[in-house]
Symmetry: none
Subunit: 196 residues, 4 copies
DNA sequence: GATGAATGAGCCTTCATTCAT
DNA sequence: CATGAATGAAGGCTCATTCAT
């Protein structure tokens, strides 16, 4: 029943994913070597190849594991009436997923150059696109498109940008949501201007 | 008199910088090899080392060349009264610099993982910090801090995020500025809320 | 039973050491490249790195393998009474080790410049120092110190210096020992002079 | 007319030799790069090539400059009667030359591996051989040959071996000479044995 | 379920050397 | 007398990957 301390079994695949994500986030994908991952896990490089076909495959698996909940959320969003309140609720739930996979989102944020080539990027981008579509009004102005895009950008990059600001994470997430709501609301009401 | 064809003069250093930036943006810093740069320029790798001490040095030089105008702008901002109009004007000028060095800013945006280790990142971050400070009101709320941060984030990442949207660049920059102004204005007036 | 021809087993590590020492002696440490070692062994450079962390590491391993017997000899010397006969016996045994590792000692002799920087040098020097200490009388005169030092020097460099002299190795070793004994004896009896 | 402090002229060739020897002694011949030499002199690498045809040429020139006095000494030795006193006087003068060119002799001592390939080695070895011949009796025993060889070895390597011993250089040279005389004397008188 | 041994390609960097100016 | 610019070769090293065991 009790696990024998350091000796875990069967979960090697998951431990690889965990350590890999740590290192990918810490040093970047390119600069992280399989040797490093293997050493951190105290296994050989060859062992990694037993569980994953390639280095990229490890990364792909990290996204695959987190794709389902996101897809579910998007499906939910698409099934709801296109009201402001729906959109706000969508963002609230979106932030919850961000919190759950904060390392992964940070990885995306910091490795955009790699995300472009690595196939996995494509699937990620299409989800963001779907999300933007969800939050837009029909026939939006360019500025409103920017508002929605910025709202999402803020949620994605915000925690990282606020790293050096005092306050606990919960407060920060609330503040990010508040600003996102502002942007969303302005976009929802159409571009009647704001300074007027 | 005018050199034709291969046009190789005393401009090799600059040509290296130019090609390097192209490739750094295209593939990322890590994945760009000096062999690639050299080949594109039709010189040997050793020639690169005549002009730059290390690979990182090429990158550093790219930033060094663009640091002065940015510092001048920040100095200008700090010399002005802390009014909303000043801040707007600051952003307008900031966007001009973004346009001038769009490749470099895109590089920063897409290679954040590398920016963390590469020393050059430090000098960049401190400038962003100074800029944020400039745009903030004294004793800002957390939400207002987010607004200012988001405004800048939007300018930095916006062009990239709008890549697939129709419309020419000038329009996009205008839209980005408009949204940034909104955020700035809200932050300047204090967080009386907007959706309430 | 006996492997034939290419005979590649679990002995690669040792084969690397062997070939490396050959080349280090033949061309010097600096001028010997890993490519050369690899080619001679018909493996790739990368294979060398599977067995040794760095080029220096190969050298270090060469010394490590021979350190034990030498340390044992020194320990033996230190456990004996400080008589002339002990010292002679020590030198006799010392010469035996020299014979066993003649290539390594020749390497040391011919690559002193490298020995200074290469860390491994330090451990070697300290052993020589211990040996000198063993052979000295308490409070020796400078000349006696020179005698002992020269005795060792002669053993170390002698075979090499006598390369072009006729006679077989065994004879030469005997002659070297004889002269070393003279020097040792003179040093042991104190510097009352010799020509008197 | 007066040299302007740091700005010397005409003597560049000599300054190159000087700095080169310093570095060759400090790091070894192989590990010393022309870049290093040029930097230390605050000239370009190309400047070195104005004064010397190759890197090896710098080394050759260092030996050439010191060859004459040595040849003169050997010629003197060969012109004298083959007495013990002559040999002693020869060694005394030899030590004087060692003192004058201590850096060069140290270089030889520490870069024997390179001395073997570098042509210049040949000319050096032949001089040592001539010197040994001078100091030997006709039809010497192997042990006597060792004595003479060791005497020279001691002078060459002694200063270096005594580096960590207290005492000033003059004292050390005297002690080295004393021991060399002993060896020489024993060799001169024939090997009637000494410890017997 | 994992290891030991090895590979081939490629990396950044340095070197001695050349030559037009 | 010397420099600026460049080259070709090579160096040590690391990487993702493979495969027999």
């Amino acid at each position: 029943m009790a696990s024998t301390g350091t000796q875990r079994r069967g979960d090697t695949r998951q431990r690889i994913q965990d350590v890999a994500l740590d290192l990918f986030v810490e040093h970047g994908y390119e600069k992280t070597s399989l040797r490093e991952i293997a050493e951190r896990l105290d296994v050989t490089k060859a062992a990694l190849y037993y569980h994953f076909k390639t280095k990229e495959d490890i990364l792909v698996s990290l996204f695959a594991d987190r794709a389902e909940p996101l897809d579910a959320l998007i499906a939910w969003g698409e099934s709801q009436p296109n009201t402001l309140e729906t959109k706000k609720e969508f963002l609230r739930r979106y932030v919850e997923q961000l919190k759950d996979s904060s390392r992964l989102f940070r990885f995306v944020q910091e490795n955009q150059a790699e995300m472009r080539d690595l196939r996995v990027g494509e699937t990620f981008r299409s989800r963001v696109e779907a999300t933007v579509g969800l939050l837009l009004t029909p026939a939006p102005s360019l500025a409103d498109r920017v508002r929605v895009t910025t709202a999402l950008l803020s949620l994605h990059a915000g925690m990282f940008a606020l790293r050096d600001v005092e306050g606990d994470d919960e407060e920060k997430y609330d503040a990010l949501l508040e600003v996102s709501f502002d942007l969303l609301t302005a976009a929802h009401e159409g571009d009647r201007g704001q300074g007027a």
